[in-house]
């Protein structure tokens, strides 16, 4: 009777297994094959070999894209953590107008990245809001076409990214702080702790788990999904100045038809991601995965 029940219940898995095989199973196996195949246009052929990986290792654009990706993530993530921990702390401490801020910080979180990209593109235009503000406060000589200038384009994208991340991370951290026992703060205050000491010695340790979670999620995001920002704001330009690793894969796969290199690189990125998630899960035992 119990066994019959299990057999019935196996059919419950069937539709999702078919979908998983369709989107993950077969494509991932094919991706391994493609990364080793010899490509003639859009057709993978034999012999198999590591030649795509060798070509990739010699490709200077790939290396530069990787470095750019690491710069974007490496600046965005630490800056976001620092700002958001402080902001979440003072939201918890009921800064004047905290309910208003809580609503405002939720706005970027639900905006699609495409929409954010378009608004920031307007913001950075030669006649856009940023240059208007600069001229208004007397720094007009710094006004420039932010997304066309080789020196300013990457920082401009990083600032757009931080804008979203701070809003997201603040709400993420704040939602965790609602579980923190207020008596921790009362006790520290009685001992004469300043607000800065409270942030460092009480809030920060309480948020350790969720900060780890955030850093892992954001790292994964910037390693393989900055595509949308880049596609909307700069399309990798000017020149190659904002081509990140996943935009490089996109260009090679769908524009230059270098499918061998694109497959090899995206497989490498996937392996790195699985590795990062594995390390994180074994560190935190998965308790914070949500």
């Amino acid at each position: 009777m119990e066994k019959a029940g299990v057999r019935n219940v196996i059919f419950f898995l069937f539709p999702s297994l078919v979908l998983l095989a369709f989107v993950f199973g077969v494509p991932l196996l094919n991706l391994i094959y493609y990364s080793l195949a010899t490509w003639e246009g859009i057709n993978p052929t034999l012999p198999l070999g590591p030649h795509n990986y060798i070509a990739l290792a010699k490709d200077l654009q790939a290396l530069e894209s990787l470095i750019r990706t690491l710069i974007i993530g490496g600046v965005t993530i630490p800056v976001t953590v620092i700002i958001s921990v402080v902001v979440a702390h003072f939201l918890y401490e009921r800064v004047f107008g905290w309910q208003f801020y809580l609503v405002v910080f939720f706005i970027p979180v639900i905006l699609p990245v495409v929409v954010i990209g378009v608004i920031f593109t307007r913001f950075y235009m030669p006649n856009g809001l940023l240059n208007h503000i600069l001229r208004f406060i007397g720094f007009g000589r710094f006004a420039t076409a932010w997304l066309s200038n080789l020196k300013t384009v990457l920082p401009s994208i990083i600032i757009a990214a931080i804008w979203w991340e701070v809003a997201f991370a603040t709400i993420l951290f704040y939602s965790r702080m609602m579980n923190v026992n207020p008596s921790l703060y009362e006790a520290a205050r009685i001992d004469g702790a300043t607000e800065g000491q409270l942030v460092y010695h009480v809030t920060l340790p309480q948020l350790r788990g969720v900060i780890q979670l955030y850093v892992v999620l954001a790292t994964i995001y910037y390693l393989n999904q900055s595509f949308t920002y880049i596609f909307v704001m700069t399309h990798g330009g000017p020149g190659w100045a904002t081509c990140t690793i996943d935009f490089f894969i996109y260009l090679n796969a769908f524009k230059y038809v270098r499918l061998g290199i694109a497959s090899a690189l995206s497989l490498l990125v996937s392996v790195v991601l699985v590795f990062i998630v594995h390390i994180y899960l074994s560190m935190s035992k998965g308790e914070e995965i949500q």
Binding site: S16, V115, L172, V269
Partner: protein
């Protein structure tokens, strides 16, 4: 003296909040205000309020730019994915979290790993495969792709909600001769319906705002989604700003409505991480 120092720090903190809120609201303001202008008003000033409340640019965007069609396509794909992931995800999560089979644990672990597979890595082989089958530019195939892609997260999230249903309910129901399907639809799902609602909102948001998959798998102007249409029109040479901004508002409203229903649950339920 010490007291004054303290209030200076307080002012600095308040200033930080005001700058952050201003930077968010000014972007929002720019989008809303310019969506309500005529092209002439926009040319005169990019930042001032429009002379009167107008919805012309929304109508132009909706009909002339065919954003109405893009809206409908996006809605069909998002809603279709939500239905499939809720239905199939519930069935699978029931097996893994409630019934338990021999390889439940291994299966759950694979599910978690799949949540982090790079979409860019999947798109290349999927596109070649679907191209060979001649199924590119098909809304229904795109729904299946999205459903499969968000299935790991759906099963994972539903499993955590299904696990919180008290187990003694199952035992007593089973003694009463309750079959698996009835158990799922009459006991588990009603008790976990807040989880299903949250998952529906999240999956709707993911598909609605996704650029990459819709860009690759839908090609013709008849099948274009809002995000693809917006991304194509954007860039440095964007013209007719009022109707473009109106399009951004149109693309945002459904998400704002969906999230305003469940915002509190997100913050309380520790679900914020799912925005990544």
């Amino acid at each position: 003296m010490k007291k004054q120092k303290l209030s200076l720090a307080k002012i600095a903190i308040q200033l930080l909040f005001i700058i952050l809120a201003f930077s968010i609201l000014s972007m929002f303001y720019y989008m809303l205000v310019n969506a309500g202008k005529t092209n002439i008003e926009y040319a005169q000033s990019e930042f001032s309020l429009p002379g009167q409340l107008r919805f012309d640019s929304y109508l132009t965007a909706w009909f002339h730019d065919r954003m109405g069609l893009a809206f409908l396509n996006t809605f069909i794909i998002s809603a279709g994915t939500v239905v499939l992931t809720l239905l199939f995800g519930s069935l699978a999560a029931y097996v893994l979290a409630v019934r338990g089979i021999r390889y439940s644990n291994l299966f759950s672990r694979i599910i978690v790993a799949l949540m982090y597979v790079s979409p860019m890595g999947l798109v290349i082989p999927l596109f070649i495969w679907i191209g060979k089958l001649g199924l590119v530019d098909n809304l229904y195939i795109t729904i299946l792709i999205y459903s499969g892609f968000y299935m790991p997260f759906s099963i994972f999230l539903l499993s955590t909600y299904f696990r919180s249903v008290p187990r003694n309910l199952f035992d007593s129901a089973r003694i009463d001769g309750c079959g698996n399907l009835r158990m799922l639809f009459e006991i588990v799902i009603p008790l976990a319906k807040s989880g299903l609602l949250l998952l529906a909102v999240l999956n709707f948001y993911y598909v609605w705002s996704n650029l990459l998959f819709s860009l690759i798998f839908l090609r013709s102007p008849e099948n274009v989604t809002l995000m693809v249409a917006i991304a194509r029109y954007s860039g440095k040479y964007m013209a007719q700003i009022p109707q473009r901004m109106a399009t951004l508002v149109i693309a945002t409203v459904p998400l704002a409505v969906a999230f305003s229903i469940v915002r509190k649950q997100f913050i309380k339920g520790g679900l914020m991480g799912s925005f990544r």
